[in-house]
Structure formats: structure tokens, C-alpha cells
């Protein structure tokens, strides 16, 4: 079974520029998550999709962050304009949609963003 694919692996941009990250979840996983992990901290959920609908985006800074999941498969997370405090690892994860919430949750290797 292929894992969760993310690209790019690294990205360096200047503040006020824009950037986009891509995620391809495991085939058949209805739910997709984007987490932000600032250095020295645990991951924090930015947005959760169920198929192509948003379930939870309460922690997403909507003035600068946006995300979409076309056709309920791939997803793109965008930041425009970027700030220095956006420097972090952006992790994508996917899971099965089922009542057994403890199973089938897989992470990608993340994109490390540095804003200078």
C-alpha cells in the first residue's frame, strides 16, 4: 500500500510571498487532514476534509491560508502572503471514515517551510 505523498519536501520563501503544498492521500481514505508543526511543538490541526467537504477549519488562519480537496482525493494547502511565523513543517494525514476512529490514520513526511 502506497503511503501519503507530499510535495515539495522543502521550501524556502521570502515573507509576503505565496506558497502551495500538495498532498495525495492513501487510496480509499475519505478523510484528509493538514497539520502545522512549529519547531519544538506538537502538530496542530489546520483543516480536516471529509471527501471534498470541510469538517473542521476552526484553527485555519483564513486571512492567509486556504485549502481545497478536489474530487475528494488530492489536496492543496496555500499560504498567501506568508509571514515569518508560518515557518513550520506542514504534515498531511489521511484516515478511513469509520466508527473505529483508532485505526487507519497515516501521515506523510511533511513539507518543511522556511520563511525568511
Amino acid at each position: 500500500e502506497a503511503g501519503v505523498a507530499q510535495s515539495p519536501r522543502y521550501k524556502i520563501i521570502e515573507k509576503r510571498q505565496s506558497v502551495a503544498f500538495w498532498c495525495n492521500p492513501i487510496s480509499g481514505h475519505a478523510t484528509l487532514y493538514w497539520y502545522q508543526q512549529i519547531l519544538g511543538q506538537g502538530p496542530k490541526l489546520l483543516i480536516q476534509f471529509q471527501n471534498n467537504g470541510v469538517v473542521d477549519d476552526s484553527q485555519l488562519p483564513k486571512d492567509r491560508f486556504s485549502a481545497e480537496r478536489l474530487k475528494g482525493v488530492d489536496s492543496t494547502l496555500k499560504i498567501q502572503p506568508a509571514k515569518l511565523e508560518d515557518s513550520a513543517v506542514y504534515l498531511c494525514a489521511s484516515s478511513l471514515l469509520s466508527g473505529r476512529a483508532g485505526y487507519g490514520y497515516t501521515f506523510g513526511s511533511g513539507t518543511r517551510l522556511t520563511v525568511v
Partner: protein
């Protein structure tokens, strides 16, 4: 809202010895999952062990075991016979066990160093 706290930013242990990582959490739910994830420098979150709150028996996976104290809301990870490959960041995480996919709530992490 649920919170997860890891009070040990760093821990170290001699190779082949035993180490225990601490985690406490806060929730008003009675049915949930708890996890320990390992994050090596590759950044991918790897599931180490999982505990279902309704089970009284502590989970065990080879050299990894947990001490789950539901009333105290404590969930510690014990690593026996530590190996150099165990060196990584370890995150405690919580997830509600209700119908449908649910987000993970992470602690701040503990960096584990294994001394040869």
C-alpha cells in the same frame, strides 16, 4: 476542548535500559483513544502504540508498553531494552472515539536520546 500535556521536553537513557515517558490529558469524554507516536528526523509520524479508553488492560507492543490510568488521566510509555533506533521525538496524542473520523490532539513532545 481536549488537551494533552507532556512535561518532559527531553529524556535520555543508556542503551539496553528502560525509560518511561509521561503524558497527561484532559477531556470530558468517556470514550476515546490514546496514542504514542514516534517522529524521527525523516518527520513522518509513526504509530508506536494505541490504547482504547474502555479497555482496562494496558496495551503492549513488543518492547513498548503503556501505563494507562483513566481516573488520573495519565498515559505513560515505557520502552524496555532501549535501542539506538528508538532515538526520536515522541508525541502523546488523543482522539475521540465517536462515529466518523476524528482529529488527533497532540502533546508538545519529548525528545528521547539513547546513549551507547
Amino acid at each position: 476542548a481536549q488537551t494533552v500535556t507532556q512535561s518532559q521536553p527531553e529524556m535520555s537513557v543508556q542503551e539496553a535500559e528502560t525509560v518511561t515517558l509521561s503524558c497527561t490529558y484532559d477531556t470530558s469524554e468517556s470514550d476515546y483513544y490514546l496514542f504514542w507516536y514516534k517522529q524521527p528526523p525523516s518527520r513522518q509520524m509513526i504509530l508506536v502504540i494505541r490504547q482504547e479508553a474502555y479497555k482496562q488492560q494496558n496495551a503492549t507492543e513488543n518492547r513498548f508498553s503503556v501505563n494507562f490510568q483513566k481516573a488520573a488521566k495519565s498515559f505513560s510509555l515505557k520502552i524496555s531494552d532501549s535501542q539506538l533506533g528508538d532515538a526520536a521525538m515522541y508525541f502523546c496524542a488523543y482522539r475521540n472515539r465517536i462515529q466518523g473520523a476524528q482529529k488527533l490532539v497532540f502533546g508538545q513532545g519529548t525528545r528521547l536520546t539513547i546513549n551507547p
